[in-house]
Symmetry: D2
Subunit: 319 residues, 4 copies
């Protein structure tokens, strides 16, 4: 029996520890591990190779993914999916582990309806926006990269009377922004999930500035497209010089944290076990209430993740 | 109603976020927060002070604990405990949040049997050795500090043919060593919980060295007192020059990770809610299966923590 | 004799070590140290206070400046400068150490022409754009903060076929961008000091992409205002999806590096010695060819810094 | 013309940037670069390979040295040196760049007296103990790794009343310990170059502890073998519980700082230029008063490095 692993969509820290565990664990189970390079595009182009222990030596602490990733437009044409399936058949691979987000899950759901292919998705995206899991691979590393950046800004913020806007990733989901605002004690958090009450904020912040507040820190989720608007509001309405930081792909890089490494290992073990012990399976694994679970891919792809209430509860000026 | 917070025993990263949340949340509940400085010794010496928001501004990213901590011998004499209780009475404090380990829990258990005092313990120790909680405050930061150190050693290890022994903290419990060995892919892990099989290890490692292995990394838990012994064994039996790193209190310091900040907030909210909603209570909070729980202090103090099997499962040469 | 220290303009890592050394060294010389808080605005508003050892305990590793800073418009009106001088007189301060850039030097040059005041400027700006010094306080820390960010981006860059634009600070001077491009091996560097040859770059990069290059990294100095333009060019002309990171004030924060701490100490000793040993002096210190030197403020303020040729020599596509 | 590069002795951060620049610059000069793997042992065993640009892609941010290093006993026997020379001849290599310390310089000095071989040493050791250079490759990274560790310890130190002993590397030279003590404001520094006056220290520290000092930080250089002794003295004489940290090889690892990368580039350019423009040359390069210089190997190997007085001047209790 041969199993392959593929990264699809944006990369996430923790993918390399997952890839290493995949190779080690598949061999331990007496099966043969394969790499699919460069995501769905690579699958179409037959970039498939047997994996060895030596391929994954010394990669635990590297960000990114040694097998590459991609977003593929071609995969949404049937003739390319046929090619993808044939490439898998050539290596007798009928079971695939996917490191990616729900876009990648959907791609494989389509493939599996047309061809006989089993797969398990492992939620891997720093956006943390996938249904049926409290945790996506890469989130802990991303949050700590952002933390370092925000702590640096606080250093300089307390020297000056100034406002700072930090834009975090998160196209569909404000999770990174919300957790950052909570854990760094930011005054302002702007996410799509809730309404930022400008009037209330203006009233309170002006009062606090009079009483001695030296600076204001605003965390804005990329998906709101509100970064420039909040800067203007801080300058015009609150009356503070304001500087913007756009973290961008810094957030996707970096040495995976211990949590992301351990989660990677557990996700892989769960996924490989499911693939080996089932003949036809299309699922994704997840982490809920301290346990590793699995759900049908159709359920995950039809529902939406919501940020836990304890994260949103203590953020200011949201209603 | 007045509530106090105290740090007791070894400090842990995350104590400052907990202290900040304590002050903010107690005020939010319309109660009065107090600091007890310098642990049980400070309590005996009446180092108690009303806390203000301004005391806790800008401390989220600082390691250590702004209110100090201590280990107290005097507390085990009744006359000093009486003094401690009287000091609390002077400020009308009959409810205390304890940031500490099981030693601190035991001290307050004794106090509460003699005097009318409610308390909630919050498990705070990088050793992660407290019953009825999967997580103790500070562990995530400590693990990531160790990770940085071990990643640095790997850089130099792969240049030379050498062995490295890294001693981690953990007097009673091998958790830090075990998670470090797992997440860094160390070849050797020595903890009190399991037997390190030297014969098996020698046989396999010698074979691997012949096949091209360049270095060996051993993680040794402080509590085993085996650091020097493992170095000697690596030099005499395996035949490799070996270097020792003793991390010591580096592991206790450092900017708290996002996880330690969020856990600190949740532990505090749970603890303060319990104190406010109960008249007589002697408990500790914990984190189990993704939920925040509480248990009677007598139960916690009579039982022992065990490392989860998924951490130990994949470590080599242990039986 | 009383000496004061002031921070003026943008803050820089290393200011706190300088402030600490100022207090310790002035006392060692049997003089009295004073703090001027919140820059030139604070000087006008009489925010002056005697400094003590206890004020500067434990600040060596903090970014920012504990005495605050500001940019002052009022200082350019004579009546406010008169007030500033009178405030100094009240404390018998006629000697001042300035941590700032050439804007701050100019402000004090004006003041010293009107009133009897000695001062020494210490070049403190991450922009590294001051004449007669190879090194400005804060530069080493800023460069290493940028390095961490760029190393993170490389992780994710090598996973995808993508281009990344990183905007560094530097309004007048491309030093940060140039050193970053050199030390991180970036393909593209855009600074005001030289012309970025788009045609040449396009020709070479397209060839390299055909031969297997996976990503392109461009470092753009803020002062060029070319960040968006380079992104568009990379997408339209080179044909690669491109992501922007704007580091902003992350670069000003952070724990000062060892080099910035040691430089801070040396600059302060040189500056205080000059003030104590001269009755009328208006100078700035600098670092040239491995030695600490001083120059008349009029000379520094009339000339312009140029980036050393060895930094620019090996950057690609510049002419 | 063919030039080779070799690492010899202990590794140092900055070796990889040097190796990358060597390959790029030698090709730019239209010569052929070679790698000698695994130090002098590898040279004896004919581990020599032509180097390509692709060998050095993406290594700027890695600690260690991709070509390995070693300490060789065999090299001190003439028959092995003959073998080493013959291996070089096979590839027409008569010019070598050495990344190493003075031990490595001496080895090549012997070789060059017996056989016709030119070489340039680049001082590469975190010990910073080589004559005729103020800077050795790797020192800046090592100092900043130590800084992080010491800053972490301060966090926890200020929580407790405790003393901490940190042992830094430096077998022959106390440079790392001295700069660390200075830049971290440690109370105690123990190095071979000066006498630590215990009586004076005890008198002052006891007084300060009475006045409120909470902790003592001692930096001890490995070469003094005094770590345990200072711990005992702090416990017995000063009366404080004391904890030891032995940093070990953490100090040799880590992502090279910007300074180490830039120094690596400059050292390599200087060394390669010298080798190309001279027919018979046995020298080492160095950094003095802001300039890159070169000296005859015989001079360097016969003299001793001394720590600059400005580093030692402000350390306490040394005489």
């Amino acid at each position: 029996m041969s199993l392959a692993i593929i990264c699809s969509g944006g990369d996430a820290p923790g993918m390399n520890p997952a890839i290493k565990k995949f190779v080690d664990y598949v061999y331990k189970c007496n099966k043969t591990p394969y790499f699919i390079y460069d995501g769905l595009d690579g699958l179409i182009d037959a970039k498939i190779k047997k994996a060895y222990h030596s391929d994954v030596a010394g990669i635990l602490h590297n960000g990114g993914a040694i097998i590459g990733s991609s977003r593929s437009e071609r995969f949404y044409e049937k003739r390319y999916r046929k090619k993808a399936f044939e490439n898998l058949q050539k290596h007798n691979i009928d079971k695939v582990v996917i490191l990616g987000g729900d876009g990648s899950y959907r791609a494989f759901e389509i493939l599996s309806k047309e061809f006989c292919i089993s797969f398990i998705g492992i939620p891997s995206t720093i956006d943390n926006d996938i249904y049926a899991t409290e945790y996506c691979l890469g989130v802990d590393t991303a949050l700590n990269v952002i933390r370092h950046a925000v702590d640096n800004i606080r250093d300089t913020a307390s020297t000056f009377k100034r406002a700072f806007v930090v834009e975090t990733m998160g196209r569909e989901c404000g999770y990174l922004a919300a957790v950052t605002a909570l854990s760094s004690g930011a005054e302002i958090c702007v996410i799509n999930e809730m309404n930022f009450n400008k009037n209330k904020a203006a009233k309170h912040l002006k009062k606090e500035l009079k009483e001695g507040r030296r600076y204001i820190l605003a965390i804005v989720s990329e998906g709101t497209k509100a970064t420039q608007d909040i800067k203007n509001w801080l300058e015009d309405e609150i009356g503070m010089q304001t500087r913007i930081t756009i973290l961008g792909h810094i957030q996707r890089g970096g040495n995976p944290t211990v949590r992301d490494r351990i989660m990677a290992f557990e996700f892989i073990i769960k996924a490989v076990d499911l693939l080996i012990n089932n003949t036809q399976i299309q699922k994704a694994v997840g982490y809920e209430k301290g346990r590793f679970i699995d759900r049908d891919i159709s359920e995950i792809n039809s529902k939406k993740y919501t940020i836990p209430s304890n994260i949103l509860r203590d953020l200011r000026f949201l209603d």
